[in-house]
């Protein structure tokens, strides 16, 4: 392991670079195509790999035809509300499940486990009918409805609360903290990594989700970035430069967040994965 020959290094780096290219090429091709005209995109001339000039017409086109400002607003509102609910409700419940004793605790935790073990498609139709009965389709409320509470978040944070040593709890009680104060002032700051992981996980999940926004908010003005893409695809069918411009607009918010918070993104995957 210590002695890595030159040949080994060259081979390994070559493989890694080829792999990396496969990983990012679709994104680069997305961006390149989004600046082309349809004629340029379909010409397939290797010397015309890049657009002859930077054209923003495709972006203008999709933004005019599909209300992207509204799509961003819907998507971010949905993410913000889902993240807030997941953090607040899950940390409360997780703390109680991990550190308090009360009748019915294990039964209620069983409900959490039950939700996690079952494929989410089972809940979709009844949830849909509920939102429909409330007359709340095509609203932000409809988008956030299934994610108002998070079984996964409760389970994840419970693991974090369990790791806090008992001594801290005793000293907090001796200092005269009641349970609420102990939770907010002492315990909550200690599970911050768990909260960050849950926030990222929830945001990513909401951002990528397709089926729920598709069925519950069919109106174009109530769609999310993800669900709007399927409509954009049928609207432009083979106008690939336009489709690519829409894709760039849809992926870039999360990509930017990822480049800024890379470390947190990966840690969130690891913590949410390995605490299971």
């Amino acid at each position: 392991m210590q002695t890595k020959s030159k040949v080994y290094l060259v081979v390994v780096h070559t493989l890694l670079i080829i792999g990396s290219s496969v990983m990012i090429w679709p994104f680069i091709w997305m961006i390149i195509t989004s600046f082309k005209t349809v004629t340029e995109a379909t010409a397939m001339n290797p010397f015309r790999f890049f657009p002859s000039q930077l054209r923003f017409e495709n972006y203008q086109g999709v933004i005019e035809q599909f209300n992207f400002l509204k799509l961003y607003f819907n998507t971010f509102s949905m993410i913000a509300i889902n993240v807030l609910c997941a953090i607040v409700f899950s940390s409360m419940a997780a703390f109680a499940f991990a550190r308090l004793e009360f009748p019915g605790r294990d039964f209620c935790f069983g409900i959490v486990l039950f939700q996690m073990m079952i494929p989410t498609q089972i809940f979709i139709v009844p949830q849909y009918l509920m939102v429909d009965k409330l007359g709340a389709r095509n609203t932000i409320f409809a988008l956030v409805f299934p994610g108002l509470v998070s079984a996964f978040g409760t389970f994840l944070l419970r693991q974090f609360f369990k790791m806090i040593p008992k001594e801290l709890e005793y000293s907090a009680r001796i200092d005269g903290c009641n349970i609420g104060q102990m939770f907010v002032r002492i315990m909550l700051p200690l599970v911050k990594p768990g909260l960050v992981a849950l926030a990222i996980f929830t945001a990513l999940f909401a951002f990528k989700n397709l089926m729920w926004p598709l069925i519950i908010n069919p109106s174009p003005d109530a769609a999310t970035l993800s669900s709007a893409l399927s409509k954009i695809q049928s609207a432009y069918s083979v106008n690939y430069p336009r489709l690519m411009a829409a894709s760039v607009l849809a992926v870039c918010p999360m990509l930017i967040l990822y480049f800024v918070f890379q470390k947190q993104f990966m840690e969130s995957v690891v913590t949410s994965g390995l605490t299971m």
Binding site: H13, T33, I111, V149, L229, M254, L255
Partner: protein, 304 residues
């Protein structure tokens, strides 16, 4: 006197702990009951009904939906398609991510950059990702066929050929998941104490021996976890198939997944009862796979 008072206080404390406990779990528990427990029961219940418009005028049909399902060739095709997708994506993606993770773990230069790049597809919307791949797969103007033609081979109908379309979808699936699994396996590798390697190399073990005797057994719990989550995720594949193959595509029968079929029956043909029966089938299949895996894990996973 004093003893009595402490007893009283403990009693009071306990009641207050109960109240706090109930208060703190109330939102989550009530939410889960309304959003998940009742819907799960309803879904099961609905699978015995022919559901009228907007969930009213339901007509009890007994096992008719299940009977229809077992005689519906489309359902069995969907089961086979979903399993084929899983069998294509899970082993290949785990193998690739394990190889990349092992290489990156050997303190290679640029480790962080490679890791960041491989992770990018994880943060991209599947809907957008599928659109680019559709463009790359395009028969006439797609980049992949362009390269294939340049080499002198016949262009491939990536999306319309019933024998190829599933492979094309699986490639997108693998591409999307490799980074996620790699980060998890890498974390598992980094848990292995350095002293293990040192001890092994003093004993004269080479890289290959080290891989099979140290690395593999030590990361087997992580790989097991990655495998379970990947399989469950693959069994629920929808986004990519939905964005790539519409109902009129000649490859539809060879690519439609269980969840896609559920979606079409429920929200396209408005047969919620039948859709619910399909979801129950999905639940049963996923449960069977999970039980088999948990049974098998005892054979090859080393928990310390």
């Amino acid at each position: 006197m004093g003893e009595q008072r402490t007893k009283k206080r403990i009693g009071k404390n306990r009641i207050s702990e109960w109240l706090w406990g109930w208060f703190l779990i109330a939102p989550t528990t009530i939410g889960l009951i309304i959003l998940n427990i009742i819907p799960a029961i309803q879904s099961f219940y609905m699978s015995f009904f022919k559901i009228g418009d907007f969930g009213v005028n339901n007509e009890f049909v007994g096992l008719a939906n299940y009977e229809k399902m077992f005689n519906d060739p489309q359902v069995w095709r969907a089961v086979i398609n979903t399993l084929r997708y899983t069998v294509l994506v899970v082993p290949v993606s785990i193998f690739l991510s394990a190889v990349i993770a092992v290489i990156l773990n050997s303190n290679i230069k640029g480790q962080d950059i490679y890791r960041s790049i491989y992770f990018i597809p994880v943060v991209a919307t599947p809907a957008a990702v599928t659109m680019v791949w559709r463009w790359l797969y395009n028969y006439h103007y797609g980049l992949i066929n362009f390269v294939i033609k340049k080499i002198g081979l016949q262009p491939v109908k990536w999306m319309d050929d019933p024998n190829v379309a599933m492979l094309s979808i699986a490639i997108i699936g693998i591409w999307s998941i490799v980074g996620y699994n790699m980060v998890l396996i890498l974390a598992g590798l980094q848990e292995i104490p350095k002293t293990y390697y040192e001890a092994a190399s003093i004993d004269g073990a080479n890289s290959i021996v080290m891989f099979f005797k140290i690395i593999l057994p030590m990361v087997s719990p992580t790989i097991f976890f990655v495998m379970i989550t990947s399989i469950i995720q693959c069994m629920q594949v929808f986004d990519v198939v939905y964005m790539m193959i519409n109902v009129s595509n000649p490859a539809y029968d060879k690519t439609v997944s269980l969840v896609y079929l559920f979606y079409n029956n429920t929200f396209k043909y408005y047969d919620e009862g039948y859709g619910s029966a399909i979801v129950m089938l999905l639940l049963v299949i996923i449960s069977i796979i999970t039980v088999i895996q948990v049974k098998l894990q005892k054979k090859w996973v080393n928990y310390l």
